[in-house]
Amino acid sequence: MRVNVTVNGSAATVDDVWEGESLLYMLRERMGLPGSKNACEQGECGSCTVYLDGLPVCSCLVAAGQAEGRAVRTVEGLAGADGLDPVQRAFVDAGAVQCGFCTPGLIVQTHDLINRVPDPDDAEIREALAGNLCRCTGYEKILDAVRLAAARRREDA
């Protein structure tokens, strides 16, 4: 089938999509956007989190066809022309990245959190990121990164 979708601001038409494919598969294997990760492919780990019409979703749980006519924003679409998004920068600076496989999903989820809640407390951060598994960091430096990103965004605002 053919899927028409806007990804990271650009309209795209994807052909030969099999009906059983997920949005994640289509992004990774048909659109050259492997930034969203395939760690569990059943909605448990959050590594494939992308925005779908502005809401974070597990792209492994969205059928490719469900993205028809909609807007997707992936980790590849967060950085601006002037460099990394503050969330991306904070993850590097705080040491929240080790193997990095969970990182794209965590960054999209964090990006959404601090858009909604500019000054989240630790309990809010933990709740917002509870669907994103990380096996390397024990989450301490991820908490640091979220606090840092939120603080920098508030300073910039």
Partner: protein, 766 residues
């Protein structure tokens, strides 16, 4: 043939950080933008997808195998069985005993039986369903203790029923038992833990023009992979070019081969690039796990709590093939009673072959299992002697000059006593604020408003060997090139060491800057165009590859200064910040001037001090090159009516010899602690009759950000004079000590014996 899209490339190391600083990761920006190429991200024009048919049975004879219907499926390009393995039919990390594809018998659930290459992963999956295998199901061997009791009766493969029996004998246990004033006993169990790295096993095999194959995979040890792959493909090792693709975590689970030979076979057969990428379910069957253990302990002591003897039996279940079980047994036996002095010892460590899930390397292997038992015993003994957990440990703690169970004298600092003092002195977290349910066990599930919630505090101590032990000639290799690029001196560091997330890639640049006085450093991708780096395991890469990079840099520096001496006629030169400095005359030349158009390149191998094997009868020997200590204190709140647990805080003191990069180091301690928490209260591969019941992240639970408490760290530096920069390996020790600390805290809260991990709610109530 061309390289894949997004092939691993050189990365520039940002910042100017030297040893001791925390500069940004060279791969950090790539990882936060989604551009970093993990093995599962590789793509090549015309590539096929490989898939693996796996045994549904833990043990069965293969009566017949028909690939015809699968091969006839449109879009399928190859279907391969054991008959298609070009060379040796078996491989293995330490002993080649594992079939590339099952020959006439399957010995564990999930054992690979056949392979398919197809145009689309779904076509490959459907073709797997059309391979017809006639199995004669056999009764699986599933009780490792029964194997140890009667190994001849329960042989699951030619090597036998017991992988290794390692005794340790010191003094006279029977006489000490007669003299002991206090005797305590315990039986302990550890369930099967999974590494649960997030990046699935994956890679791309590309057939090469010379008849060989180019492999892009995520692994922990390139050279050992190639040594195992080459004989199975019947190719000389030099025709297998392996490049490290991005690794999404490892923790031991990538030390054994997974898809490497399979993808290469499919690529060589079809003449096309073949990608394989396991999904999460397949990953649970596609790698070895942490050995489950059954441990029987008896300690005798004076009434003041001075240890007199230990009588210990440890049984580890390795599954059907050898993998790293021999070393796991060696660790469990040699570190079986932890960092405490015993004048009399009888330890028997066993590894058994069974038809349970295969087990091998996982962070802290062998030492993790024993640590849960010996720390539980120390608490039991403390209670019997009327001492606190810290007092009993303090009283029996090893120090520099102490003798380990193996008779090895600890010849570098072992500051256990001061570490315990620091740990105990740390402030305790406040009582939970029950007005916010998120602070309570059960959280927003609203299972309690504070009623039935009891706080507990527990301590745990762990000791881990660093680097490879027992006489193994452990080495790493580094190639360092210094050249002037655009008038700026630039260092290229090339090793085959696996960056698995731990931050070695950052550290290599820090060492190069420190040794060569140059800011600009580029890291080459890891591959086998350079010599063996050994495995990214045993907490060894900062030590070993760090040591190799340091040695290669020193050789480059010596040549640089020799050239500068010839040019300036001076002998009092050093290099600093890109400038050659004379003690007498100050700055005499820039590094770029001395280099001109003539780069300096040196390759060095680094070996750690030799170790000796353990005596097969007495278990005596100086088998470890370095030992590392971590101590944890856990504070928990337990809903004793429902068995729900909230770990409130984990505090740790760890000796690292020298802090090379505080940010990465803290990340290692945090992450290792989290995996210990997982083993304590969450993580187990549940097995029934040899079959895995929970191969998914829905049913195998790893800690989320809600499960992990704040962690308080106190990192101490007692340099090891034998190690590069005095450093001590740091990745594994926290994984040892956090588990027993948490379980001790749960016992403190509930009064339950809790002799098995992971502790489940039903163990905490009733």
């Amino acid at each position: 043939m061309a390289a894949p899209v997004k092939a691993p490339g050189r990365v520039d190391a940002p910042g100017r950080g030297r040893v001791g600083d925390s500069p940004p990761r060279p791969d950090g920006t790539l990882k936060v933008t989604g551009e970093f190429a993990y093995a599962s991200d590789l793509w090549m024009s015309g590539m096929l997808w490989g898939a693996t048919l796996r045994s549904p049975h833990p043990r069965a004879r293969i009566r017949s195998l028909d690939v015809g219907p699968a091969l006839a499926t449109p879009g399928v390009h190859a279907v391969l069985t054991h008959e298609d393995v070009p060379g040796a039919k078996v491989f293995g990390l330490d002993l080649p005993d594992q079939p590339v594809l099952a020959v006439d018998e399957v010995r564990y659930q999930g054992e690979p039986v056949a392979l398919v290459a197809a145009d689309h992963p779904e076509i490959a999956r459907r073709a797997l369903d059309r391979i017809v295998v006639d199995y004669e199901v056999l009764e699986p061997v599933t009780d490792a203790r029964a194997v140890v009791a009667d190994p001849e009766r329960y042989r699951v493969q030619e090597n036998g029923g017991i992988v290794r029996h390692q005794p340790v004998r010191v003094g006279d246990v029977d006489r000490a038992r007669a003299e002991a004033e206090v005797v305590v006993t315990g039986e302990y169990e550890v369930g099967i833990q999974d590494q649960a790295f997030l990046g699935p096993e994956a890679g791309l095999a590309v057939p090469a023009d010379d008849g060989g194959v180019d492999l892009y995979v995520s692994t922990q040890w390139i050279h050992r992979d190639v040594e195992q792959i080459a004989p199975c493909l019947d190719l000389p090792a030099e025709r297998i070019r392996m490049t490290m693709a991005g690794v999404g975590g490892a923790f031991g689970g990538r030390e054994d081969l997974s898809m490497q030979i399979h993808a290469a076979m499919l690529a060589l057969r079809t003449g096309r690039p073949v990608k394989m990428s396991y999904n999460r379910r397949e990953s649970f069957f596609g790698h070895v796990h942490r050995h489950p253990a059954w441990m029987r302990y008896e300690y005798g002591a004076t009434k003041e709590g001075r240890l007199l003897y230990a009588d210990v039996q440890i049984v580890l279940d390795g599954g059907a093939y050898t993998s790293s079980s021999m070393n796991v047994v060696g660790n469990a036996a040699s570190l079986g009673v932890g960092p405490y002095e015993f004048p009399n010892l009888r330890i028997d460590g066993y590894g058994a072959y069974t038809n349970n899930p295969p087990c091998g390397a996982m962070r802290g292997f062998g030492a993790v299992q024993a640590c849960f038992a010996y720390e539980s015993m120390m608490d039991r003994l403390a209670a019997a002697c009327g001492l606190t957990p810290v007092q009993i440990r303090h009283r029996n703690a090893v120090t520099q000059g102490s003798r380990l169970a193996t008779g090895q004298i600890i010849d570098s600092p072992a500051p256990l006593a001061p570490m315990l003092e620091r740990l105990e002195a740390m402030p305790l977290p406040p009582v939970a604020d029950t007005s916010d349910l998120r602070n309570l066990p059960g959280g927003v599930a609203q299972t309690t408003h504070g009623e039935g919630v009891v706080r507990g505090i527990g301590y745990g101590v762990g000791i881990k060997n660093i680097c490879f032990s027992e006489g193994f000639d452990d080495l790493s290799t580094a190639r360092v090139r210094l050249e002037a690029i655009g008038g700026e001196p630039t260092v290229l560091v090339h090793t085959a060491a696996a960056e698995v997330g731990q931050g070695l890639v950052t550290l290599k640049a820090q060492i190069a800057r420190t040794e060569l006085g140059v800011d600009r450093v580029t890291i080459a991708p890891a591959d086998n165009a350079v010599g063996n780096a050994g495995s990214s395991s045993a907490s060894r890469q900062s030590y070993m590859t760090g040591g190799a990079v340091k040695a290669a840099c020193e050789a480059v520096r010596a040549e640089l200064l020799a050239r500068a001496a010839r040019r300036t006629g001076r002998g009092d030169l050093s290099v600093r910040n890109g400038v050659i400095v004379s003690r007498a005359a100050g700055e005499v030349a820039t590094v770029a001037e001395i280099l001109g158009d003539d780069p300096i390149e040196e390759t060095r191998e680094y070996h750690h001090r030799p170790t000796t094997p353990l005596d097969p009868v007495t278990g005596q020997g100086s088998s470890h090159t370095q030992l590392a200590l971590c101590v944890h204190r856990a504070v928990v709140d337990v809903d004793v009516e429902l068995g729900l647990v909230k770990v409130v805080e984990l505090a740790a003191v760890q000796d690292v010899g020298r802090i090379m990069n505080r940010q990465s180091l803290e990340g290692q301690i945090h992450g290792g602690t989290a995996q210990g928490l997982g083993l304590a209260v969450m993580e187990e591969i549940v097995v029934a009759d040899g079959a895995i019941r929970n191969p998914s992240f829905t049913d195998y639970l790893i800690p989320t950000i809600l499960d992990m408490p704040p962690m308080r760290l106190d990192i101490v530096e007692y340099p090891d004079p034998h190690a590069p920069y005095g450093l001590r390996g740091a990745g594994e020790p926290p994984t040892l000590s956090s588990t027993p600390a948490i379980v001790a805290a749960l016992r403190d809260a509930t009064g339950k014996a809790l002799t098995r991990v992971p502790v489940r709610p039903e163990h905490l109530v009733g």
